[in-house]
Structures are given as C-alpha cells and as structure tokens.
Amino acid sequence: MSVLVGRKIRKVYGKKSTAQEVLKGIDIEVGKGEFVGIMGPSGSGKTTLLNVLCSIDHPTEGVIEINGQSLRGMKEKELAKFRREQLGFIFQDYNLLDTLTVKENILLPFSISKQPRAVAESRLKELVALLGISDILNKYPNEISGGQKQRTSAARALITNPALVFADEPTGALDSKSATALLTNLEKINQQKSATIMMVTHDSVAASFCSRVLFLKDGAIYTELYKGDKTRQQFFQQIMSTQSVLGGDGYDA
C-alpha cells in the first residue's frame, strides 16, 4: 500500500514572462516502510519536490495524496494539523529551538495535541534509547554536539509516529562519523519500526542507506535505483556511476 502518491506534479515560479518550471510533471509513489532517497545536481528541484510533497509549498499542478488524504483544498490550519499528526521533519540545520531542552524539543509536537503524558513519555523513552540520546535529555541544544542535535531532531520527527518522515539533507552539516551514526539509526528505525522515510541528499554514502534512490534532473525523474539484495557497498558504486552519467562530477556545489 502506498503512503505517498504524487501525480503529474508541476511547480512553476515567477510570472508568465519570467516563468521557470522547476518541476515538470513528476509521478512518485512511496510504499509503507520504504526508505527513499532523492538525489540530483543543484537546481534539479530536489528541495522543491520535498517542500511540495510535505505541504510546506503548493504545487502549481498535480495531485498529492498522503495516507489517502489529498492535500489539495486543505486550509492553512488543516495543513498544519496534518503536518503535525502525519508527517515528521529532519532538516540540515537541525532546526531545534535554543530555548528548549532536548526533551522539550522532542516533545514539541505534542504541545498542542492532547496526548496523555504517559503515552508521550513511554514513546520518548523508546526513541531516545534507540537513538542513544537518553543521557542528554535535560541539556540545551548549545551544550550538545551536531550529531546529537540531529538525533534529537530525528527523535522529534518520529515522536508522533508519523506516516511519513521527510529528511532534507540530514547529514549535510555533520562529520562523516556522526553522519554514519545517524544514518545507521535511521536505517534501524526504518527496519524495526517500519517507518517510511523520504530523504533528500547529495551525498552518495547517505543515499546508499536507502532502499530506493530517485535521480532528478531538470525537474523530472531521470532514473531510479533499487537496492534489492545488493550490499551497501555495491549499491554505493551503482549510485556513483549513475551520478557520473547524470553529469556533474559526483558532487555538486
């Protein structure tokens, strides 16, 4: 069953004369429990696609359904509620509130919903144990490392048990060791909790943790790769070669 269905998604910026088509009719489908990566050179529309899919931005044309609910026609308030209850977000720059402790940051999505304290507490315990941040719950973001911040951010994304987690360059600001730790954690959560994750990245190593990788070029899907039974190393090689075909030199700015 598909968690996310997107049909003929187009996104045009600017007025008619200066119009620039960033997404050119993308069809996408993500099944439950998938860990999907989106790659592509700068300006290929990765982040725009993510923003449109996660309801932060509106598509010019096309249909998006998450968990069978269409995003079209939802009011700002409904969209906010939808994001809060159905989606989780992990961003490159952590997006934690400096004024809140790690625990308060993780429990942030519950601050408007009426979740019983005990339920929230047990869910929190489970997640922080899985992510290895149980001992920093009372610290403030400025007192912990980048890797810990990103794991805190991941815990916040997962606390509501969302249908779909969006990750926008989650490893972008991390050193390779912290990045690997985070990705291992995400993989673990994906497999153990069968959480559906969609991750935008330009890091081939990060992408190799996914079960499927979509390549975007000039606003359209260029190709997609399935991990299948391959090892992570093999999958990584495959991603690298696809990227060189796609143009660019493996990494984009």
Partner: protein, 659 residues
C-alpha cells in the same frame, strides 16, 4: 563609488532598517520643538503671567524633557547600530579602514538628523498649537492662540540635537574602534543569555525581590501614620527607604523573580510544554538577563509618570472640591453683612436657594475621640476652639439627622486631619462654654461641609440640639467673631456670571472688620476660589501631563522597538514551528501571552507602584482620590495598549511570513 554615494545608496536600499530610527528621531524633535515653541509663544506667555511661577515651571520641565529625549535617542541609536553590526563588519572585511567606516556612519547620521530635525520642527510647530489650545482649555481662558515661529525655540532645539548628534557619532566611533571584527558579526546574540541551570542564589534573590517590593508597599502605607512611624526618625529617611526598597525590589523581580516563577511552572511540566510555554515562557526566561534592566527602567518610569500625573491631576480635579471647602455654598454672606445681594439676585430674576446658620463656639478636646496610642501625640494640641451649629440649621442640608438632647455630631472631619488623626464616634467628650462644662455623647462623625473656611478654620464643626445650642449661647460671656452665615446656591449655574458680578460689586457691603488684626475680611465666592485654583494648577497639570506623555511615548516606543527586534530574532523559531505543524493561530496564542507579559507586567507593576505612592500622600494635594487616579491610569493603559497592539501586529506579520 564615492563615500557619499555609497551612503545614499545604502540608505535608499535599507529604508526598512532606517525608518524606525528615523521615526524615533522625528518624534523626539517634534516633542522637543513643540514644547519650546509653546514656552516662547507670546500669547501663552501673556496668559501665564497670571500664575507667577509659569516660566520657571516651563523651563524646569523642558530640562526634564531634554533628558528623556536624550536617553531615548541614545537607546534608539544603540539598537539601530546593533542591528547593523553585520553590515559594519562586512565593510571592514572588504578592506575599509575603521576611520572610513566611522566617517560613513557619521555621514549617515548627519543626513538622518538634518532630515529628522526639519520634519520634526514642522510637525512640532503644528502640534504646538494643539498643545496651546489644550493648555488654554485647562486654564479656562478664552484665547485664540496665534502661531508664531520662535527663533529662541528653534535655536534651543537645534543646539540640543546638534549636541546629541555629536554624542552619538562619538559613541559610534568608539564602538567601531573598540570592537573586533568577530564580535561585530555576533553582536545581535550578545544580549541573549545562554540558558543555564537554575541556582539557589537566583531563587533566593528572586524571593528577596518580591519581599522588598512588599516591604516598600507596606512602609508607604505607614508613611503618614503618626502611630508607627517611630521606626524611622525622619520622614525623609522613611521615603528614601521606601523608594530604595521598591526600586531594588523591582530590579530583582525582573532579574530573578520572573525566572524563578517561570522556572517553577516549567519544572512542573517536566518536558511536556504547551504552545504558550514554548512561545512565551521559555523565550522570556531566555532573554530575562538582557531585558531585566530595560524592563525595570520602564516599570519605574511608568510608576513615576503615572504617580506624578495622578497627583497633579488630583490637585487640578480637586480645585472644585477644595474651593467648596473655602466656600461650601456658591455665595456666602457672614454676620448678615451684604444682604443686599439677596435682594439684587431677586431683582435680576436669578433663582436661588438659601440656608441660614446660627453659629457659636466652644472649647473642645478632641483627643478623647482619638484611638488609644495616638493620644499621646495629641496632648499638646488638646483644647481648641470649635464652631457649633444647631441641629435645625444642619437639617437644612441633612433633613434626616435626628439627635437626642446631650447627643452631638462632629462634621467636616476631612483631609489631612482625617487621614492623620482618625477619630471614632460613640464616646463622650467634654466641652467648655464659658465657665460651664457640658458632657456630650458623639453619635456620629460626618464629612458634610457647611461653613465658610474663614468661620471654621478647617477644623471640625460640632452639631448639637437646638436646646443645647441655646444653652451654650447663654453661658458664653463673649460674642464669637461670626454669629451667622447665609449660604446661597444658584438653581441654574448659567446665572453664575451675572451673580458673580453682583457679588463683586457688593464687596464693600460684605466686608467684615476683624478684631484680631484690624483688617477687613471679604468672603470670596466659590467660583472665584475655583478660578484661582485652576490658574495656579492648570499649568502644573499641563506640564506634568506633557512630560507624562513624553515618558509614555518613549517607554512605549522602546518596548515596541525591543519587541520588533525580538520578533526578528525569533523568525527562525517560527519557521521551525510552522514547518512541523503549528498553525499561525497556534503561534499567535503564544505571542499574545508573551506580549501580555512584556507590556502587561511593567505596566501593572508600574501602576501598582504609583498607586501606593499616590495613596501614601494624596491628601496633601487635594480632596479627591479615586476619580482622578482611575482616569489617569485608564488613559495611560489605553495609550500603552496602542503600543502592545502595534507590536502584536508586527509579530503577526513575521509569523505569517515565516514559512
């Protein structure tokens, strides 16, 4: 690109950054210039000759105004520079010398100041007419104010702002020279407190703050309490202690108590915060270190402004009631002198009502009515001459009052006397009429005022039964100075002008020769006394109201500017919150709570401060407390509310934009 072109281009492109500072400058010039223009306006000067202290009051007020404006402009420029620290850093990064950067900023400020002084003077010139009209209305003078451009006012304003400009440029130069490039880039973060664990020291100081305020309030209620003030030998020392403890208490409150209280709320939630906690409680805690000084200052200024305005409004408002104490009736005729007045009123067809009183006096020892401990203070002033009026005359104004023989009522017990020396009914007192002593049972203490202040000398009046009155009169060996009073009230107040003329024309007939100093006494009418009060108080209230307005506008603007800066700082947080699923409405709920704190708490505490300050000594200024105090406070709150609404609107804009 030359320096001046760079300056003009950057100013044009950054209008948004500049407009706030520019507005603050214009506003200051307006306030300053309109006040000095008023001060030198010939028609105002002419009108104010009547009250002798006018020019002194005006110039004293203008100095206070200069101080307020200087502080305000310095604050605004500091805030402005902080916001632009990155730009200054960038100029240096691309290789401009510090000297060049200083010249650049100086040039910018010179341009801004010249424009602001120009615009501000035009606005000030126009608004001074409005202020002049308000002043004339207060003084009840019908006068068309001619607008005239005063060179003196122009000179003064230009000098003040030129000095300010120099100070600001020096300050900026010093700032640019002193700080390193690195710190310029992070200047916006400097005020933020890195959130720390809560220490015992903070909790104790928080508690001390609350206790100091409470102590100050308690002491203020004791300030004029004869009974207990023995703790502090002098009144002055007592006042200093009260001021000191409330001021220090206010600072500690903002620095520690607020965090203490909020930390308690937060700890109770153990991580499960509500949206208002996220949006209001935690950011307020986070910023309290940086904000506590300015919030304290704003609170104290609010307290000061409301206190002073209330007191002067109390005296202005009481000009009617205090005139009533001099002349309880519109017109008073004593010892049946000048009764032609009554005939002439009838003749002129003016309707009126008239009450007649017989007057005698006795020696009375009021100290017996004073409660317990206070008696020792009153022993010296024990016996005094007290006016007596028979019950049937008193019934003219209070028909329902009944007395048994041997009973009495004390009335006109008001003002300072009543506040400092409260007395109780239900006791016997001894009065001496001539050689005889009579014991009277005091049934009631009242506030009704019936006799001219010249008759009663501001001391209480004794009401006795008619038989007792006759007895007193018989026993007395000498005639009192005043034996009768006729009080006349006009039915229709529109006749006042005509009646006033008649009353004045009969001054000779009404004059009474006083035995004690061989001088003649002429009773003044209510209207005469009230007018005299208003001329002497009108200017005071105007000047204090103007200064109060300056305080209000500057503190309100500072709070508003601060909130704008905070909103900008928190834009990122709002972005995060909206992305993870908070709607604009959810966020605004938190914003309302935060604004309620930022505006409400300094206002509430400031008002409370002024309430206790006014309450402790208001009776020295007038006879009405509640109405003028409530009116002043309400107006202040409403005008303050405008700034809160402006700030909420700004937040709304920021929240809307942040997704």
């Amino acid at each position: 690109m030359t320096l001046s072109r760079l300056v003009f281009r950057s100013m044009r492109k950054n209008v948004k950054q500049y407009y706030l500072y520019f507005f603050a400058l214009i506003f200051s010039v307006t306030l300053c210039f309109s006040f000095t223009t008023l001060q030198y306006n010939p028609s105002v000067v002419e009108a104010l000759k009547l009250s002798g202290t006018a020019s002194a009051g005006f110039s004293a007020a203008s100095y206070i105004l200069y101080v307020i404006i200087t502080l305000f402009v310095l604050y605004a420029s500091q805030l402005f520079m902080k916001r632009r620290s990155k730009e200054i850093g960038l100029y240096q990064l691309i290789g401009m010398t510090k000297g060049l950067v200083v010249r650049l900023i100086a040039l910018e400020n010179i341009v801004l100041f010249i424009l602001a002084v120009g615009i501000g003077m035009i606005l000030g010139f126009l608004s001074s007419r409005l202020f002049a009209m308000v002043l004339m209305k207060m003084l009840e003078i019908d006068l068309v104010i001619r607008l005239s451009f005063s060179q003196e006012a122009f000179k003064q304003s230009v000098i003040i702002f030129a000095i300010l400009l120099v100070v600001i440029i020096l300050q900026l130069g010093w700032m640019v020279r002193r700080v390193s490039l690195l710190s310029l880039f992070s200047a916006t973060k400097q005020a933020d407190e890195r959130v720390k664990r809560f220490s015992i020291f903070q909790s104790v100081m928080g508690l001390v703050g609350l206790l100091l305020i409470a102590f100050g309030y308690y002491q203020s209620t004791e300030l004029f309490n004869v009974e207990k003030s023995s703790l502090f030998k002098s009144l002055f020392l007592h006042m200093i202690v009260i001021l000191g403890s409330t001021m220090l208490g206010t600072f500690l409150f903002f620095r520690y108590s607020v965090s203490l209280i909020m930390n308690m709320i937060r700890a109770k939630k153990s991580g499960h915060l509500k949206v208002t906690d996220v949006m209001a409680v935690t950011p307020i805690m986070h910023r309290m270190k940086g904000n506590s000084k300015s919030l304290t200052l704003i609170t104290l200024l609010t307290g000061l402004a409301v206190g002073i305005m209330s007191l002067s409004y109390i005296s202005y408002y009481s000009s009617g009631t205090s005139a009533r104490q001099v002349s309880p009736y519109d017109y008073i005729l004593l010892n049946n002198q000048g009764t032609e007045f009554i005939e002439e009123l009838q003749h002129a067809g003016i309707e009126f009502e008239q009450d007649t009183y017989q007057i005698s006096n006795v020696m009375l020892d009021i100290s017996e009515l004073v409660s317990g401990q206070l008696q020792e203070f009153t022993l010296n002033a024990a016996e005094s001459e007290t006016t007596v009026v028979p019950l049937s005359d008193f019934q003219q104004i209070e028909p329902n009052v009944k007395l048994e023989n041997g009973d009495a009522i004390i009335t006109s017990y008001v003002n300072v006397l009543a506040e400092v020396l409260p007395i109780q009914a239900g006791r016997d007192i001894i009065v001496n009429a001539g050689e005889t002593e009579v014991s009277l049972y005091i049934k009631d203490i009242r506030e009704d005022n019936l006799l001219s202040s010249r008759v009663a000398y501001g001391s209480p009046i004794l009401i006795v039964t008619d038989e007792m009155f006759e007895k007193i009169q018989l026993e007395k060996n000498e005639e009192p100075e005043f034996t009768s009073q006729i009080g006349i009230d006009l039915v229709d107040k529109q006749d006042t002008e005509k009646a006033e003329e008649i009353y004045k024309s009969l001054a000779d007939e009404r004059s009474i020769l006083m035995e004690e100093n061989d001088q003649s006494f002429i009773q003044r009418s209510y209207e005469e006394v009230r007018k005299a009060n208003i001329t002497s108080l009108g200017l005071t209230i105007f000047v204090t109201a103007f200064l109060g307005l300056a305080f209000l506008l500057t503190t309100g603007s500072i709070l508003y500017f601060k909130q704008m800066a905070e909103a900008e700082d928190e834009r990122e947080s709002y972005k995060i919150l909206r992305k993870i699923g908070f709607s604009t409405n959810d966020l605004m709920k938190g914003i309302y709570a935060k604004q309620a704190f930022n505006f409400g708490v300094p206002l509430a505490i400031g008002l409370l401060h002024s309430y206790f300050a006014v309450k402790s000594g208001w009776f020295l200024f007038g006879s009405e407390l509640a109405a003028p105090l409530v009116i002043t406070m309400t107006l202040y709150v409403i005008m303050y509310g405008v700034f809160a609404i402006l700030s909420i609107q700004y937040y709304k804009k920021v929240v809307r934009e942040s997704l």
